[in-house]
Amino acid sequence: MSDRAMGLSSAVGLERPDDSGKRSDEQILEAVGRGDDDALGVLYDRFGRVAYGLAYRILRDQSLAEDAVQEAFLAVWRSADAYKRERAKPSTWILTVVHRRSVDLVRREERRRGEPLEAAPEPTSGPADEDASLRDQRVAVQAALSELPGDQRQALELAYYGGLTQSQLAERLGVPLGTIKIRMFAGLGRLRELLATKV
């Protein structure tokens, strides 16, 4: 089994492939927790690209996406020492912080402007020099998403990529709030199953 496949199966997690001979993500995060700013740079090398892609997808604005990523990595910098004893995967933790910061920023901006941010043009493919494992992970996640029932996929995408709250989703789709919650639960559960088969 390839590193990539192991990463996929270990996760439902699409953990980044382990670079043998290099420090693990946990070790890097521990170093960040000790105040090693070079380690923070390494952490950025590992997750910065995914983090920025996510922030840009949510915020649809380069400058806001940069702010979100910078604030999230500084938040990790400040609290990595509290994290180091814990068991969640660093990738999950870091990307969760990036996601939350991006969602908070997009909601603040839309309140301030009184309208949704303009949709950014969707690239049809990743950057030419995109890392092969990142590309494979993207293909696997997109394939899993495409196999979800439409209403579940829509709920996950509008919430996770669109930054919509469950109440906004219910209003936009004209369905009860309870229905949105069920779609989110069911969608995440099904996504997990689908990703487990993409190895």
Binding site: G13, W93, H99, L134, V141, L195
Partner: protein, 213 residues
């Protein structure tokens, strides 16, 4: 989705894991997380799944100097002065939290759920009708917020395997974490019905919630 309305299930774990709660609901739910070990476990597992979506985005190249800016900003930051004691941070009011460093709070708040992750793989299975099952090994815990049952009634959970239905737990209204007393495995189904108080040996009510493990 009439069953949802009938049950008034206030299940916020999945919307929370997707960052789809508004700030008030998020704050309320995080106070609940402070006191609910199983909910933190559930959220951790759901976060794990949701984070996969980060990898589904078409790559957008970050600016070349962003790395240097982040590292430079970190070097300038007096780390020890920015970290509040955990206890103080956990109970800050939302407005105060926002006025302080929102991202930093988020990072630590998320660390709170992260520390509940264990080595044993834990799965969360969404139940049709609401609620979810946390499955660890062959043990399942049902997590749901349900309306109080009518007088003389109780909720009863069932484990169905190879066509045999066996009672697995009784529970009342409110936010419940019910450990099923029958083992589950792949192919097992779990359902919940409303039954006479004290429970019955075979289900008579309709399935209010159900899931395949």
């Amino acid at each position: 989705m009439t069953r949802m309305a009938e049950f008034e299930i206030h299940e916020l774990a999945a919307p929370y894991a997707l960052d789809a709660l508004d700030s008030e609901d998020r704050w309320t739910y995080e106070r609940h997380l402070d006191t609910c070990d199983l909910c933190r476990e559930e959220v951790a597992a759901l976060r794990e799944i949701a984070t996969n979506l980060s990898y589904g985005v078409e790559g957008k190249e970050p600016p070349a100097d962003l790395r240097a800016r982040i590292v430079a900003a970190a070097r300038e930051e007096p780390r020890s002065a920015t970290v509040l004691p955990m206890r103080q941070r956990r109970w800050m009011l939302p407005a105060t939290a926002a006025a302080a460093a929102a991202a930093a709070c988020a990072a630590v708040g998320l660390g709170l759920w992260a520390n509940t992750l264990r080595d044993a793989p834990t799965r969360v299975v969404a139940m049709e009708g609401g609620g979810s099952l946390i499955v660890s090994g062959n043990q399942a815990t049902l997590v749901a917020c349900v309306k109080a049952p009518p007088a003389g009634k109780t909720y009863e959970a069932w484990v169905i395997e190879n066509g045999v239905t066996r009672p697995a737990a009784l529970f009342a209204g409110g936010c419940q974490h019910v450990v099923l007393d029958k083992p589950v495995q792949s192919g097992t189904s779990v359902t919940v019905t409303l039954e006479a108080a004290g429970g019955v040996e075979a289900p008579t009510g309709i399935a209010l919630m159900s899931a395949d493990v």
